[in-house]
Symmetry: C2
Subunit: 320 residues, 2 copies
């Protein structure tokens, strides 16, 4: 006999009161259909750092997703992590740092739409309004990092923010000769850079690697994924962390296999050298990392394991 | 020369406006000092499941924490995960299931105090008030699972809820002969059970293993950690998950090494058999698990890896 509500209740002493009236008291709380707000906060020294969930996309696994591995090997690497082998789910995580003196947003996420482009919304959930952002620092000019510079109305989303980019990244994408020499199909990136930054080009601060962009945050050369791809080292007190952008896609796949060349890396050999160098530095110095495409909240540590690195997500705690 | 605000601004075109007035425009958003609310939501079929953060505690690693491993081996297992080898941080995660018809809370967390006992607070953050809970189902009678049955005022925290426990767990802890036969130092558990459940003993529903406690949720034998330790299988549509309570402490340590006997397991050999049987079932049937002591939000999948099981946290998404 299957269990019905009546037989179940009839068999229990606790249902006594309910049976008296013939009806159990059920709160029937409505379904919420709401996830918790998409942010996660922690301290680095005296700085308050907040991971911001821009969103996720799921698409079919691209054929030839890794240049130097077979589709079957790629699929196996995903299923090993409990992920579907035929789907590619990408998470996008921006970061905001409050140094006490300035609020610095690291990357801006995707243009709003569908399941992405939620950086400004989740910043607000984290208590930070667009006008509070003093600096927007950009790791590189791919659309999932600069899409959120402007809103659907084309206005700057962070009206008070100085925009900070690597002079190398700027030099590549804003070079008309390079754009004109590129095949038609490869011009989108150049055009997007102009759309997002062109109208404020003279106000964008172009910075050098290995120099502080604000006190406590240093631009770090991380080239290969794009020509001017930049990480940001955040240091306060005796703690440090690094926002490493796209030195890997999902670190469970690509930190584990640093030689793999994902199709997103513009210069695969340089990307491999950067990946190894920064992961090695982070493992040796126990630097907390934030990977743009790790599962949310996308922050933790790496340890060397054989030829690769294991990503160990940081512990979630409610106390900062 | 170190970078001061003035030299930094002086070197940038973007600072032009600020230099005109002599002062940069800085929002100086205040530090928040607030973590995101401690809940995480996902669907199992038509059921809405929410992981609730009761809190964390950190203490010195107990000597002899694992009966059949040396302290050095235990310490190494923790540092392998990027955790301190000399500290034991324990996370506590309760779960609430809204079946559409009933709201079922699985375990109640610790008594409130310090960094734990936040289940009711985080339930409220998740939109569920104490009066909304129809059923409180208990995995076992350790204080970090039943401490939240009553508040500081000794009143039941969930006034409308029927309390559901395994008849075996009830039989053990409510047995006066067993309590009186126990050494003085081991009587606390018996006394706590009486304090929490004694006044409502006749209203507590004592259930059998492998039977539904409400439609869609089945009590599953998981004995060893305590005599009546119980898991709960949640099934809706073609999806299922299991709240496995304390079949492991941190699964990164103890699912990885199912033979390890943590001091918390009352019957170590039975606990090992249960751990292996349920992890094996979950790996084979791809059942999503919720471990009470995994890092928040404490839910994911296990895959067999050599003699142990790897815990793969589920992907965080903002869409349910």
């Amino acid at each position: 006999m299957s269990i019905t509500r009546r037989t179940m209740l009839a068999g229990t002493a606790a249902a006594g009161a309910a049976l008296t009236t013939g009806l159990p008291v059920l709160a029937k709380a409505p379904m919420s259909n709401q996830q918790a707000p998409g942010f996660h906060r922690f301290k680095i020294g005296s700085f308050e750092v907040t991971a911001i969930h821009d969103g996720t996309v799921q698409r079919d696994m691209p054929k030839g997703f890794v240049r130097n591995a077979t589709d079957a090997e790629v699929s196996a690497a995903f299923t090993e992590l409990g992920l579907p082998g035929d789907k590619l789910t990408i998470t996008f995580t921006t970061m905001v740092v409050n140094t006490g003196d300035r609020v610095i947003l690291l990357d801006t996420g995707n243009a709003a739409g569908g399941t992405v482009g939620n950086t400004a919304k989740n910043l607000a959930a984290a208590g930070i309004q667009p006008g509070d952002v003093d600096v927007v620092a950009i790791s590189h000019f791919h659309g999932d990092h600069i899409g959120g510079v402007r809103g659907a109305d084309n206005a700057l989303v962070y009206p008070n923010a100085e925009i900070v980019v690597s002079e190398v990244e700027w030099g590549h994408w804003m070079d008309d000769a390079k754009m004109n020499a590129a095949p038609e199909a490869a011009r989108g990136g150049f055009q997007l850079a102009r759309r997002q930054f062109g109208p404020v080009a003279d106000k964008v601060r172009k910075v050098q690697w290995e120099k502080e962009i604000v006190p406590g945050i240093t631009a770090v050369k991380a080239a290969g994924h794009t020509p001017g791809h930049t990480a940001f080292l955040i240091a306060s007190g005796n703690q440090q962390m690094m926002f490493v952008g796209d030195i890997t896609n999902h670190p469970g796949i690509f930190a584990r296999r640093p030689e793999w060349q994902a199709i997103f890396d513009m210069d695969p050999q340089m990307a491999i050298a950067t990946r190894k160098a920064l992961l090695d530095r982070a493992a040796a110095d126990k630097i907390r990392l934030s990977f743009y495409h790790a599962p949310f909240p996308a922050t933790g540590f790496v340890v060397k394991d054989g030829a690769g690195y294991d990503f160990l997500p940081a512990l979630w705690t409610s106390t900062l």
